[in-house]
């Protein structure tokens, strides 16, 4: 009975390690494909950061399941926590820097929420109200003006209108 338990736990250990390593490799390849195929800095960044973090996290978790001892598990959990804290911060920093450098948006970008919200001199966010619904000409200045072939924000697309909630309706529902 005891021997059977030890054997089954060992096999479970092997299967868990193999599955975690394979999932990690799959997500790593997916991150690289997203980095190669996405059209834009920002979309490339979201593919690379999320899938890459998940892949590397699965592989470090596979190390924890393979050496099933307390110190290895604690250290690998430390690695995973550090990875999951620092990866979003790093990608946020690169995205902000890319927006300030003015790397071009994709032509099919529906809505640039940060348009005109940053002060170009001080790089600080200032209060910017959303333009009214159906406003064809956005008076706010764009940091990316003249960098895309199409206009960055077009309001005539029907499929992007549900994304912008009306602030009055949501507040009345909440209260």
């Amino acid at each position: 009975m005891n021997e059977w338990v030890v054997t089954s736990v060992t096999w479970l250990n092997y299967v868990l390690t193999i599955v975690l390593v394979l999932v990690g490799g799959f997500f790593s390849v997916l991150a690289a494909v997203g980095l190669l195929r996405m059209p834009d800095v920002y979309t490339r960044m979201q593919a690379a950061t999320k899938a890459g973090t998940l892949g590397v996290g699965c592989m470090v978790l596979a190390v924890a399941t393979h050496f099933a001892s307390l110190d290895v598990v604690l250290e690998s959990l430390l690695v995973i926590v550090m990875l999951f804290i620092t990866a979003p911060i790093a990608s946020h920093l690169i995205a902000r820097a890319a927006y300030f450098v003015g790397s071009p948006l994709w032509d099919g970008t529906a809505y640039d929420e940060m348009r005109g919200c940053y002060d170009a001199d001080s790089h600080m966010l200032h209060n910017c109200p959303l333009p009214s619904q159906g406003d064809q000409s956005d008076p706010r200045p764009s940091m990316l003006a003249g960098r895309t072939s199409r206009e960055v924000m077009t309001d005539d697309d029907e499929d992007m209108t549900p994304r912008r909630r009306k602030p009055d309706a949501s507040r009345s529902q909440a209260s």
Partner: protein
């Protein structure tokens, strides 16, 4: 028969390195070698994006992902050669990667300031 014998028969390892390099059951070793190949493919993709990225933030993102894959390769080797000490290398490498990316981002943003 283990994975170092397999590699030696292919010719990837010299004959002086005996079977002491890799440890563990053969199924795990085979899967780990396959995943190392997948990671090599992913790193080649990152390298292509690093070479032909149109703007500098593209290259910084590609470099970040390349460093994360290097952390993954070190984790795989920790299983493959049976030494969990390499997790410390993963930890330090992740920290240095974050510092490098943050430094690149700060440099880019300072350069964009008029």
């Amino acid at each position: 028969m283990n994975a170092s014998m397999m590699l030696e028969s292919v010719g990837a390892l010299p004959a002086q390195i005996e079977t002491a390099l890799f440890e563990g059951p053969i199924a795990i070793q085979a899967v780990l070698l396959i995943v190392l190949g997948m990671l090599a493919l992913a790193m080649i993709g990152c390298l292509i994006r690093l070479l032909l990225g149109p703007t500098l933030p593209d290259r910084v993102v590609a470099l970040d992902l390349l460093g994360m894959f290097a952390v993954a390769v070190i984790a795989i080797f920790a299983i493959l050669i049976g030494r969990p000490v390499l997790l410390s290398v993963c930890l330090i490498m992740g920290l240095i990667l974050f510092l490098g990316t943050a430094a690149f981002a700060l440099y880019l943003e300072r350069r964009a300031r008029p």
